[in-house]
């Protein structure tokens, strides 16, 4: 049975319509994996040296055990955002004579051999080999390595439970943040010394292999719980039943002030508010807006005005970047309708432009309190906002004409790579790097004020030539009309 499942997946991978196109992303992911592997190998190899340096008086293994608690928390966080339960299209399998049990076991088993579970081994194994080499007993170290593997797998299955819980709430990050935050603060404020207890537990297991039964039992328990969750989901109606709730139709009549683009603006606003993927990108606004707080309180960044512009472009342009990069793929589900309707492409694009420009204005106003860190920051943000409105909106609309990937609006957003192609990686260069580079050049050559003025001037030029630029962009979209329709028609 497993062989059959594997061959199905093999085929779905190589026969997928977007196989050739998404190869770029796969290669990128592969390089990223190689990078992490070598990083972990490096850390593992020098772990004993590093620990000796940081904790000179403590035995390296004990010191490492003391850190495991934090590793588990970090690992959980990373997993939550990057690891998803392997997807399998079960619908066609449900009516075939296949036991539900074997489908679930297969999916769960496959998750256990994911790359992220092997990653710790790249650090753990060289570390343990060096420990044995430097005179530790072989068998406790072996037991220790097994414990590490068990802990990794426990995290693996714990993560899916957290994910299935958070899938049911609107604020999808909440459960993981609460769990990790609570565990961390319990430990930090000394209510419960979890880190110490865990460290002692692991040492105890290394010395007494019988205790391996404890993590093993936890693992089995988590597996069974996952099994139950998944099994219950293996019915067609489980996903559908509760979802249909009454909707409040809003009339959004105020958009009439925008004239002939009003119908599209209403559509865009509904698009953003009524779909999972777009809705969770609204939460990204908060992150973007507060982004500056990561940097400005630190004195290091106070002396780097060219960095203000980067933060400025990012925090006033977070919606522009998030929403703009997938124009027109947001409408991919009904693109054929739009193309056969009596619409002016220019109005369609202008609605998107207006939304983005207004968002920049609002985000700039909301970001005014940054003046607390110095008026220069506010001025840089202002320049960045004007640049965003005049230049970046057009750049991202132009980039959109190269989008060829469909987006399924009902999927959740965070680290969802659906719809992502080379365009999304390349577009970041003119969007973020270019204004920062320009600013830096003028800042070093002349002065801070002139550099800001240059960005503002560029922005104003963009606004002045708005009509002309939009014409050019529109013709670019018209050119790729058939290609887009064809691409949006395919399921990837």
């Amino acid at each position: 049975m497993i062989n059959r499942f594997l061959s199905l997946e093999w085929k779905s991978f190589f026969r997928s319509a977007s196989f050739g196109k998404s190869l770029g992303i796969k290669i990128f992911m592969g390089l990223l994996a190689l990078y992490f592997m070598s990083m972990f190998l490096f850390i593992g190899f020098f772990m004993d040296k590093i620990l000796k340096k940081v904790y000179p008086d403590i035995d390296p293994l004990v010191a490492f055990n003391g850190l495991i608690f934090f590793w588990i928390l970090g690992d959980l966080l990373v997993r939550f955002f990057f690891q998803k339960l392997p997807v399998m299209s079960v619908k066609p399998l449900l009516t075939l004579p296949i036991k539900r049990k074997s489908i679930v076991n297969y999916v769960l088993g496959k998750s256990a051999i994911s790359f992220i579970n092997f990653l710790p081994l790249f650090a753990v194994i060289p570390f343990s080999i060096k420990l044995i080499y430097s005179g530790y007993d072989g068998s406790p170290i072996l037991i220790w390595v097994i414990t590490m593997i068990l802990l990794t797998l426990i995290n693996n299955f714990l993560n899916f439970i957290i994910e299935s819980l958070s899938a049911e709430t609107e604020l999808s990050f909440l459960p993981i943040i609460v769990l990790v935050g609570a565990l961390y603060s319990l430990n930090y404020f000394g209510f419960v010394n979890i880190a110490g207890a865990l460290s002692k537990g692991i040492s105890a297991i290394s010395n007494n292999p019988v205790l391996l039964i404890v993590p093993l039992l936890i693992l089995i328990g988590l597996y069974i719980y996952n099994f139950k969750i998944l099994r219950n989901k293996l019915f067609l109606d489980s996903g559908l039943k509760a979802k249909i709730k009454e909707v409040n139709a809003s009339n959004l009549d105020w958009t009439k002030n925008f004239g002939d683009i009003a119908p599209f603006m209403q559509l865009d606003l509904k698009l953003i508010w009524r779909n999972k993927r777009t809705k969770s990108s609204v939460w990204m606004l908060a992150i973007g807006l507060l982004y500056g707080l990561f940097f400005y309180p630190q004195p290091t960044y106070q002396g780097m005005p060219w960095f203000f512009v980067f933060i400025g472009v990012f925090s006033t342009g977070i919606f522009l970047i998030n929403f703009g990069q997938f124009i027109p793929a947001w409408d991919s589900g009904y693109y054929k309708l739009l193309m056969s309707q009596n619409i002016k492409y220019e109005q369609y694009l202008k609605s998107k432009f207006t939304l983005m420009a207004v968002s920049v204005g609002i985000l700039f106003i909301l970001g005014i309190p940054y003046v607390f860190f110095g008026w220069k920051i506010l001025f840089a943000h202002f320049a960045a906002a004007i640049y965003n409105i005049g230049v970046n909106t057009h750049v991202i609309l132009y980039g959109g004409s190269f989008n060829r990937k469909k987006i399924d609006l009902s999927q959740k957003a965070a680290f969802n790579y659906q719809g992502t192609g080379a365009v999304q990686w390349v577009i970041g260069i003119p969007l973020l790097i270019l204004p920062m580079g320009l600013f830096a050049i003028f800042y070093f050559l002349i002065s801070f004020e002139i550099a800001c003025l240059v960005l503002i001037l560029l922005g104003i030029i963009g606004v002045v030539f708005h009509q002309k630029i939009m014409k050019a962009i529109t013709s670019k979209y018209l050119e790729s009309k058939y290609k887009m329709i064809g691409a949006f028609n395919q399921n990837n």
Partner: protein
């Protein structure tokens, strides 16, 4: 109204449609039948300029559809669910289409009001998004949306599929009513020979992209079609 000349469509060396000449006069109810892969949807997609012809062209009201967009104001279509906007309620969807076709809310309400029978109480006032409706109900909404704004050409791809028997019968009445005063040209395709001979005055049979039969509907048409497809 619609004239097709030397039209062909080829996908990587594989010809899926080849129509030398086809004239559809104004006000005709025109039916397209053929087995899967006969080229029905391809023809409609070409007519809506959703794909590019390999050779030839279609003119709608003397406007070549892949050269100018002037055919859009008088043409409406429902091909498949991708013509629906899933996150709107049916009412919002009708208003949106209405606005694109220069109709205000009252116009749309008036038109949609005529189809209460057809909707069978399952579309209007349900407070549900289109994506949450059943396939059949989605289809009803899509078909009615294609009637908004007094289009002169209406294209419906397999309108009878997925509909319940009552709705199928009502849909037939609607289609017959549309062409009554010879203003509106209706193009439909169907696998249901009985329905299509019932509503269309002319039926064209496509086979592997070629036009093989062009019939004026009469009492004998159904028999003829049945014997054609039996072989």
């Amino acid at each position: 109204m619609i004239s097709t000349s030397n039209l062909s469509k080829t996908y990587s060396g594989n010809q899926v449609l080849n129509i030398e000449s086809l004239e559809i006069p104004r006000g005709q109810s025109f039916g397209l039948v053929g087995n899967n892969g006969a080229g029905k949807t391809t023809y409609f997609s070409l007519l809506l300029d959703l794909i590019q012809p390999t050779t030839g062209f279609i003119k709608s009201n003397d406007i070549q559809v892949n050269k100018s967009e002037a055919w859009k104001p008088f043409t409406a279509a429902f091909i498949d669910e991708s013509f629906l906007i899933g996150y709107l309620t049916p009412e919002e969807y009708f208003y949106f289409i209405g606005e694109l076709r220069g109709q205000n809310k009252a116009d749309v309400d008036k038109l949609v009001g005529q189809f209460e029978d057809f909707f069978h109480g399952e579309i209007l006032g349900q407070k549900k998004y289109l994506r949450d409706l059943s396939k059949g109900n989605q289809k009803k909404a899509g078909i009615v949306a294609a009637l908004i704004g007094n289009p002169e050409v209406i294209i419906l791809d397999e309108p009878f599929a997925n509909l319940d028997p009552t709705t199928q019968i009502r849909l037939k009445e609607i289609i017959k009513g549309l062409t009554e005063n010879r203003d509106v040209t209706v193009l439909i395709s169907s696998h249901d020979l009985l329905h299509i001979t019932d509503v269309c005055e002319r039926i064209v049979v496509l086979d592997k992209g070629e036009l093989v039969k062009d019939l004026v509907t009469s009492a004998a048409t159904l028999k003829e079609l049945e014997s054609h497809f039996a072989n």
